[in-house]
């Protein structure tokens, strides 16, 4: 007999994006406009279709002024979505990947990462670019 799916634990993945259910959206998150959850260099988008969603991103300074080398401080991608609240069931679409259903709930949006063994130690983990 198949194990019943627990919606509070169920993870969903579409290509380089993973959705992990959470109970609350952190207070430091700020709202974003639109329905595009992620955008790739190649122009392909992960975007919701139908339903009702609210996107959030982590709110923090775009540069770390306390960095010993501020010129190397990472600048946050202003379009990166970090959290998603689905008020009404929606579907996530992408040109190359199959669609996935996103039921009502709150999610943290995890962007796929990889290891760069040829970079300096501090820069070895990088977000996947597609």
């Amino acid at each position: 007999m198949a194990t019943p799916i627990d919606p509070k634990r169920t993870l969903r993945r579409q290509g380089d994006i993973l959705f992990k259910p959470i109970s609350v959206i952190p207070q430091y998150a700020e709202k974003m406009e639109g329905n595009i959850v992620a955008h790739g260099e190649s122009g392909n988008l992960h975007q919701t279709s139908g339903g009702q969603v609210q996107l959030f991103r982590k709110k923090h300074d775009t540069t770390d002024l306390f960095s010993p080398r501020p010129e190397l401080a990472k600048v946050q991608d202003p379009l990166q979505v970090d959290y998603l609240e689905v008020h009404q069931d929606t579907v996530l679409m992408h040109e190359e990947h199959n669609k996935i259903d996103l039921p009502k709930g709150k999610y943290v949006v995890v962007h796929e990462r990889e290891w760069n063994p040829f970079a300096l130690e501090a820069d070895r983990i990088r977000q996947v670019i597609d």
């Binding site: 169920t10 993870l11 969903r12 993945r13 290509g15 290891w115 597609d130």
Partner: protein, 180 residues
């Protein structure tokens, strides 16, 4: 971006060129062809030209030798492909070159294969610096193959895949139900 084999080969060719110039100037300084009788002078000049030809081959030969030794042919090309920063471009080039060919050329040794089709390899192209490489299929893009490096302390293919999405191996295996 200049590749490591190309850089080493260029350095080798530069050293070869300096040696060639040194040899040639030494030869021309030690032989005075003009002071010889006409027939001997002609043969002397011919010998100097030949020495120049021989020494000029040195930097070119050094370039190609070093380029091959440092992996510019075969393994080096494969390493360049699996190190491309854009994952889609990397996947396309891996497909074009042939994944099995790349793994063979980079001397990749399989460490683990999971039920989900993920494969973890160890690549020993750099002395005393083993690299871990994950090969995985995309569930919805017609089983297109992808690959990426993962931290060197990774032990299983599913652990590597879980690391990529900042979840535990248990979560990856048990809770990742919908994949597209």
């Amino acid at each position: 971006m200049i590749s490591f084999p190309f850089l080493m080969a260029t350095m080798g060719a530069t050293v070869g060129l300096l040696i060639a110039i040194l040899v040639f100037t030494t030869v021309t300084d030690s032989i005075d062809c003009d002071s010889l009788p006409e027939e001997a002078s002609l043969e002397c000049n011919s010998a100097v030209s030949t020495s120049w030809l021989v020494v000029s081959i040195l930097p070119i030969a050094l370039f190609f030798c070093l380029f091959t030794i440092f992996g510019g042919v075969g393994g080096g090309a494969s390493m360049r492909v699996i190190s491309i920063s854009n994952i889609e471009e990397r996947a396309k080039k891996m497909e074009r070159m042939g994944v099995e060919h790349i793994l063979r050329k980079t001397k990749a040794k399989i460490l683990d294969r999971s039920k989900r089709g993920n494969e973890l390899y160890e690549i020993n192209m750099i002395p005393n610096y083993p690299l871990k490489y994950l090969k995985y299929e995309d569930p919805s893009t017609a089983n297109k193959l992808y690959g990426c490096f993962v931290p060197s302390d990774t032990k299983t293919a599913d652990e590597a895949m879980a690391w990529k999405f900042q979840i535990t191996e248990e979560e990856y295996v048990n809770d990742l139900v919908f994949e597209a």
